[in-house]
Amino acid sequence: MNTDAQPQRLTPGPVEFNDRKAVLRVENLIKHYRIERGFFRRTTTTIRAVSDVSLTIRRGETLALVGESGCGKTTVARCIIRAHKPTGGSISFSATDDDAIDIGNLSLKDLKPIRQRMQMIFQDPFSSLNPRMTVGEIIAEPLIASGVPATEQRARVKELLQLVGMPTSAATRFPHAFSGGQRQRIGIARALAPSPALLVADEPVSALDVSVQAQIINLLLDIQDRLQLSMLFISHDLSVVRHVSDRIAVMYLGRIVEEASTETLYSRPLHPYTEALLSAVPSKDPTQRGRQLPLTGDIADPSNIPTGCAFHPRCRYATEPCRKDVPALRRAADGTAVACHRARELHLTGVGSNDRTSSYGAPLPTN
């Protein structure tokens, strides 16, 4: 329990952006999918995958988007790279410091040069690489698309392979010759090829073995330090997120319910859903097993979102107002934001970074 868990400067009203160097600024993003049935293609159901999401990524920063499957985090990523056209809201992207462009409504032709500055890393390294192309061709493809002369391509491919810790001889081989971790490195090299300003990584390590996962996490951190990349990191694994992210936005049923710096979110969660997510992570210490999980049931159907706070049917702190009114996302001056009627009064349990030292016999890495 934390006694100082309440933010003191909560103010209602629209989300404010006062930061100087935002690479990406998403405001009030909405994405609805219509399910059409019958001869006249009448809309029978609307799936509100994303309703009103705002987020900002600053230069060199990693923002993690976390939540259960079905919460809309992948939809947000797809709208940002404009694989899907948003239903509403704006997405402004600025690759360099001065030219912010709203990419939410751009035509495909106008999108092309911008897409090179934002690249995606996929979850499954087996299905995201073309098996008929050599690794060199895969990495060179975005270079060809951006008009890099053929003479420079080979040198650049070599440089990228070295950057991701692969032998340069890999360029002439096909993806099937490589393990999952090596393929994910190739995918990262491809994403880095057009010198992007923003990387969107959708669960980039969840398909990998534990020992390989650690290598890829370190690689992403190292590359980010070297290239000053901004990153949107989507994951449901809160242990992984703790290592890679500077700030975290927690999503539930298409809305952001809490946003805070990584340290703050883990030590002093303000939303009951964040508390539940943190408590659900296995403790990795056999002497601490069997804690009671403060969360029951499943995430609701996004075509039939509960009234009031969408989380109230699963929330153990829910009261009458939670069933009626949708809580607004209130932002404090320090950037912390929470959408909960009871955020001021609740004292939620986080994960201490000091009181829980490692219980393993093995020595911990010192850096």
């Binding site: 259960e68 499957s69 079905g70 393990s179 999952g180 971790g181 090596q182 073995d209 534990v210 020992s211 996962q213 650690a214 290598q215 996490i217 370190n218 951190l221 449901h236 694994d237 809160l238 242990s239 992984v240 703790r242 290592h243 890679v244 500077d246 990584t262 340290e263 883990y266 539940a276 997510l277 408590s279 659900a280 992570v281 296995p282 403790s283 990795k284 210490d285 056999p286 002497t287 601490q288 097993r289 069997g290 999980l293 969360l295 029951t296 049931g297 499943d298 995430i299 994960v351 201490g352 970074s353 829980r356 490692s358 219980s359 393993y360 016999g361 093995a362 911990l364 890495p365 850096n367």
Partner: protein, 332 residues
């Protein structure tokens, strides 16, 4: 300690492929005790799933068990070596489901899309006990209640694709319980699930284990799940057991360099910002390219030149743990 309910002794399994022979499991022994949970931990290619499938005798045709015994109720008058039974015979089929049941990683693999949940559960109940339809229906509803599915009577007529991943896994567990088994093999039962749903399913397995006195063989790559569930741990690498012992001992003082490295490379929820993880160099080799000597030596930071690359370390007893490593000194 009391008698194990299931004992695997010196099991070796090979796959004969066009490219050559792959040794998937080598000289593996394990004991599962009644009412306890044994976790088999390993990365992909470690042979943990092959072990589970060998126990149930549901391996593919190109698999060959070159040695080993799988003893059910060892050292009792009912002792039965499953390896001696024909894999398609009546006797092994009676053991599958009624003594040993399997829970899959992706429950859709064990459920048909074309039949309702109720239909499939009733089929399982009737195959195992031969009761009439109305009794089977009541039994199926009871099973759904037991695995914590809300509104079970309505769910009986639902198709598996209409359920969420968590509910589907609960149906998969209900299906496994239909034959009243006393041994449950769970192959990565929560890997496909969200962390919240994972916690719910683990709680359910723990509850069932207590209520039905089930023995659980839990196959996983996630040391967090092991810490939550296991009494005993068996760490596998490339088809071999590298370390075994009680969960407390293995987590408190891992003996094998692989176990230690695996624990260090786990992301931690109490990490400092941008903290790098300790890594194990390289990747798990394909089982068909097994290194000579200790299978872990090419990735081991503590390997002894000349020794680890030439001979295979045998298990060394250290307290209640066992580790297969030349560095481990035997103690009482």
């Amino acid at each position: 300690m009391n008698q194990p309910i299931l004992s695997v002794k010196d099991l070796s399994v090979q796959f004969r492929l066009l490219e050559g022979t792959t040794r998937a499991v080598e000289q593996l022994s394990l004991d599962l005790f009644p009412g306890k949970c044994l976790a088999v931990v390993g990365e992909s290619g470690s042979g943990k799933s092959v072990t589970a499938r060998t126990i149930l005798r549901i391996l593919d045709r190109n698999a060959h068990v070159t040695s080993g015994e799988i003893l059910l109720d060892p050292d009792t008058p009912n002792e039965l070596d499953l390896m001696r039974l024909p894999s398609t015979g009546r006797r092994i089929r009676a053991i599958r489901g009624q003594r040993i049941a399997l829970i899959f990683q992706e429950p859709m693999a064990s459920l048909s899309m074309h039949y309702t949940v109720g239909n499939q559960l009733m089929e399982a109940v009737r195959i195992h006990s031969g009761v009439p339809r109305d009794i089977a229906f009541a039994k199926a509803v009871t099973l759904l209640v037991e695995v914590g599915i809300p509104n079970p009577a309505a769910r009986m007529s639902a198709f598996p694709f209409q359920l969420s991943g968590g509910l589907r896994q609960r149906v998969g567990i209900a299906l496994a319980l239909a034959g009243e088994p006393d041994i449950l093999i769970a192959d990565e039962p929560t890997t496909a699930l969200d962390v919240t749903t994972q916690a719910q399913v683990l709680n359910l397995l723990r509850k069932l284990q207590k209520e039905r006195n089930l023995s659980l063989l839990l196959i996983t790559h996630d040391l967090g799940v092991v810490a939550e569930m296991a009494n005993e741990v068996l760490v596998m690498y490339l088809g071999r057991a590298v370390e075994t012992g009680s969960v407390e001992r293995v987590f408190a003082s891992p003996q094998h360099p692989y176990t230690r490295a695996l624990m260090r490379s786990m992301p931690r929820i109490d990490a400092t910002p941008r903290e790098r993880l300790a890594t194990i160099g390289g990747a798990v080799p394909h089982p068909s390219n097994r290194p000579a000597g200790c299978p872990f030596h090419p990735r081991c930071e503590e390997k002894i030149d000349g020794l680890c690359s030439s001979s295979i370390p045998q298990p060394v007893r250290r307290g209640h743990n066992e580790a297969s490593c030349f560095l481990v000194q035997e103690t009482g």
